[in-house]
């Protein structure tokens, strides 16, 4: 049995998409999706935020985006302060939206951590996620960002 399906994955991507749409009236578009393996792009951008799930699913959902994209976002929001700290806040906020959607979709029994945000180097995701995690490359305006889904359905009795 396959662990998760595209509908489950779509829940996370839609969360990101809705977040951007509410603030900017511009939808996020899925560019492509692939499995994170050695010889494919690492999908890691400047800033990454993630939440940890336990319960029905266990694992992490990552949102990774370049500086420029989050700066643009703050600009659209009318935020004057665009320090790194603020950018990490924004990334965390997006991860929070993901966790909200996840809870709605998978039910209240799912435990979801508060987001952890950090600046990340180019190959970082490949070093932390399980092999063959799902990468969904999204586009907002001309920026690229990624949602990486590294979760497994918990073993059932």
């Amino acid at each position: 049995m396959s662990a998760i399906n595209e509908k489950d994955i779509l829940i996370f991507v839609e969360a990101v998409s809705n977040f951007f749409f509410q603030i900017t009236q511009e939808k996020v578009e899925i560019k492509t999706a692939y499995l994170l393996e050695d010889d494919v792009p690492s999908a890691t951008f400047d800033l990454t935020s993630y939440i940890t799930l336990s319960g029905g699913f266990t694992g992490r959902i990552y949102f990774s985006a370049p500086h420029s994209m989050l700066t643009h976002l703050l600009l659209v929001m009318g935020e004057q302060n665009r320090s790194d700290e603020r950018l990490l806040d924004a990334a965390g906020e997006i991860a929070n939206t993901i966790s909200g959607n996840a809870r709605k979709h998978f039910g209240e029994t799912m435990e979801i951590s508060v987001p952890t945000s950090q600046t990340t180097k180019s190959n970082w995701l490949k070093t932390v996620v399980s092999p063959r995690s799902y990468v969904i490359l999204v586009k907002w305006k001309h920026y690229r960002a990624s949602v990486v889904v590294d979760i497994q359905r918990a073993e059932q009795k």
Binding site: S2, L10, Y34, R132, V138
Partner: protein
């Protein structure tokens, strides 16, 4: 069951009251009638006893008048007075007798009436005491009385003579009469009084009886009214309660419940879950069939129409047709609240409702059995999968181990290529389409190899992936979201691949070949002829069997296995595809071959030859129906690849070339071996990669030959 009895039982109290009322009425009427009759009798008695008083006076008066007229010698008057005396005595006597014994007497109007015997002691006493006087009195009067009461002139003359001659007789009677007249009068008066008293008593009894009757009737009426009203109220209450219960049942029951009338209309009441289960807006009284038609597959719907009509008719036996209910576990397409269509499984059960020995309705129960059906499917799937896995395992055990390992490596590489293709960013839809086509070719390649090795598990998975991707390819809105699906399919592929790799590695250790993976790189791994010939023959025969065809394969492939390994592998892949094509499109079914006077068993040959100067040819030839441009034109138009004008504008050669474009297929229905329009384009790509070119020769209903010419000296 018995309605009559139950109705009687239901209204038994009222029926009882009504019967009682009628009986009481009859009694009262009877009493009344009896009393009226008695009153008539009393009236006669009273009347006649009154007359007795008058008669005693008349007798005395007649005696006096007789004496008077006799004294004056008025003979005519004397005779008249004697007659009057006679009449009075006679009437008095019979009446008195009547009172004593009962009997017919002359009534007041001269007609005979029946006089009843007196009943009370007083009356009897009065009558008896009268007799004490009357017996003597009558004795005194006797000489004066007529013998025959005819009162003829002679008799009257005789009587006159007697009185004239015996005046003492008259004197004695008159004296007695004057002395006793008052007494008689008194007795008769007593009698009258007593009779009146009896009559009054009877009248008052009657009144009491009537009053009692009326009272009883009133009570009975009141009882009836109370009982009926109470029963009605109770009935209404029960009815309301049962309605409420029905409503509650219909509101809470999980199944869809409704009645279907003879016109196949849904009844006014149905369970509230019905619209949910059917996922349709159901109105009371709505036609059921259009709802069913909208959700059920066509064939099921048509069978259901027959079935429902049979049940509504009275020809078939219900219990002997329920096994034919076509509406069990029906897959229906429904649209959920989010607008997604999904397949659910519903079961409908129909039961006749019989009213007055007629089929009035069908009671329909609808259940959503999706969970059950899905579970059954999963069990089935799991079974099949387990079976496929075991079959795979058995085949693997029989396979050439090195071939297997190479296959696993190849699949791994193909999957990596697919993932790499996916990870490329693609801006345009056309770009995306190119990538999808590329992925499909890779998947198709895996399918082909899996087929050759008889690894059903992977072959069918690849086939399923292919099917889904074809839908995507034909979807105009193919975009990023579908890419998500592709990547999920890819992940599934990886899982299949890794479990297969595990099996092979275990098998390897079992066979003591644990290190052959390393050996593969060191020692030049050479494709070997015999396993390949075996595989390709088996594949051809299997495909032929699947299509109801027969085939004999002949191979001359020694040359092929002397070529560089890379070339040999490409040729192996190509031959799988061409063999598939030949069997799916070329070689005909036996009856068709028979019609063309061809041997029933098709021939398929694979040949690899040296053409000299490092050039080689690889040929796959079948003796099937051939590639016929005219047929292709027709087919392409039918399948909507091109319009009639476009098809006619193309030359025969151009038409045939179309076979090599992605997405073009000539098979009627897609199956594992054909129909997806992936195949010849893959072959052509490989040929190009080898730096070769391909020749196609064909003759209608005779043969088709694909020949690849290539050079091994770069």
């Amino acid at each position: 069951m018995n309605d009559d009895r139950s109705i009687f039982f239901k209204y038994r109290k009222i029926v009882f009251a009504v019967v009682l009322f009628m009986v009481a009425d009859a009694v009262v009427i009877g009493v009344n009638f009896y009393n009226t009759y008695k009153s008539d009798e009393s009236a006669v008695s009273i009347n006649l006893s009154g007359r007795q008083r008058m008669l005693s006076q008349r007798m005395t008066k007649a005696l006096l008048m007789t004496e008077n007229s006799l004294a004056r010698s008025r003979n005519v008057a004397t005779k008249a007075n004697l007659k009057e005396l006679n009449l009075a005595v006679k009437l008095f006597d019979t009446t008195l007798k009547g009172f004593r014994d009962g009997g017919m007497v002359t009534g007041g109007d001269g007609n005979p009436v029946f006089l009843t015997q007196v009943e009370t002691d007083e009356s009897r006493k009065a009558v008896e005491e009268t007799y004490e006087i009357w017996d003597y009195y009558l004795g005194l009067l006797q000489p004066l009385l007529s013998k025959n009461q005819e009162f003829s002139e002679e008799e009257l003359e005789g009587m006159l003579e007697f009185v004239k001659n015996n005046p003492d007789t008259l004197t004695a009677a008159l004296a007695f009469a004057q002395m006793n007249n008052l007494k008689i009068l008194q007795y008769m008066n007593d009698l009258t009084t007593d009779l009146e008293h009896v009559a009054n008593k009877r009248a008052s009894t009657l009144r009491i009886v009537l009053l009692a009757g009326i009272f009883f009737a009133l009570v009975n009426f009141a009882y009836t009214v109370v009982v009926s009203i109470r029963d009605l109220i109770l009935g209404d209450h029960l009815l309301a309660q049962s309605r409420k219960e029905t409503a509650e049942i219909l509101a809470t029951v999980r199944e869809g419940l409704f009645l279907l009338d003879k016109d196949k209309k849904i009844g006014t009441q149905f369970s509230s879950s019905l619209p949910d289960i059917l996922r349709r807006d159901i109105q009371p009284g709505a036609d059921f069939m259009p709802h069913l038609e909208a959700i059920a597959p066509r064939s099921v719907y048509e069978a259901a129409v027959d079935y429902i009509e049979l049940l509504l008719g009275d020809r078939v036996k219900e219990s002997l047709v329920t096994s034919l209910n076509p509406l069990t576990d029906v897959p229906v397409l429904v649209t959920d609240t989010r607008g997604d269509t999904q397949t659910r499984y519903l079961s409908f059960f129909f039961n006749r409702v019989i009213t007055a020995e007629q089929i009035s309705h069908l009671l329909v129960t609808v259940q959503d059995v999706t969970d059950k059906a899905v579970l059954a499917q999963q069990v089935e799937q799991a079974k099949n999968q387990a079976k496929a896995e075991i079959e795979t395992l058995l085949r693997l055990a029989n396979s050439d181990f090195d071939t297997l390992q190479r296959f696993i490596t190849n699949v791994g590489e193909s999957l990596a290529q697919i993932n790499a293709a996916l990870s490329e960013s693609h801006e345009e839809a056309r770009e995306r389409m190119r990538i999808l086509n590329q992925i499909m070719r890779l998947v198709h390649g895996i399918k082909g190899e899996a087929a050759v090795l008889g690894i059903d598990m992977l072959e069918s998975y690849a086939h399923d992936c292919e099917k889904e991707m074809i839908v995507m390819r034909d979807d105009e809105n193919f975009g990023g979201d579908q890419m998500l699906r592709v990547v999920v399919l890819l992940e599934g592929f990886y899982q299949q691949h890794s479990s297969l790799a595990q099996v092979v590695s275990r098998l390897g250790s079992a066979l003591g070949k644990a290190h052959s993976a390393e050996r593969e790189d060191a020692a030049e791994d050479t494709p070997r002829k015999q396993p390949f010939v075996d595989h390709i023959t088996a594949l051809a025969e299997r495909i032929a069997a699947d299509h109801g065809k027969q085939v004999k394969v002949s191979c001359q492939l020694e040359k092929m296995f002397s070529l560089p390994n890379t070339v040999t592998r490409e040729l192996q892949d190509i031959s799988v595809q061409l063999v598939r094509n030949a069997l799916a499109h070329g070689i005909e079914a036996p009856d068709k071959r028979n019609a063309h006077n061809k041997p029933l068993i098709g021939r398929l040959s694979l040949r690899c030859e040296s053409l000299g100067h490092g050039r080689h040819s690889f040929t796959v030839r079948d003796d099937g129906c051939g590639i016929v441009p005219e047929r292709l034109r027709k087919l392409f138009v039918e399948k909507g690849f091109m319009t009639l004008e476009e098809a006619s504008a193309l030359s025969d050669k151009e038409i045939a070339t179309r076979l090599f474009l992605p997405g073009v297929s000539t098979a009627e229905t897609p199956d594992q071996d054909s129909g997806h329009g992936i195949g010849l384009d893959v072959v052509l790509e490989k040929v190009k990669r080898m730096g070769g070119h391909m020749l196609v020769r064909s003759s209608p209903d005779k043969f088709t030959e694909f020949s690849i010419q290539f050079s091994t000296t770069p």
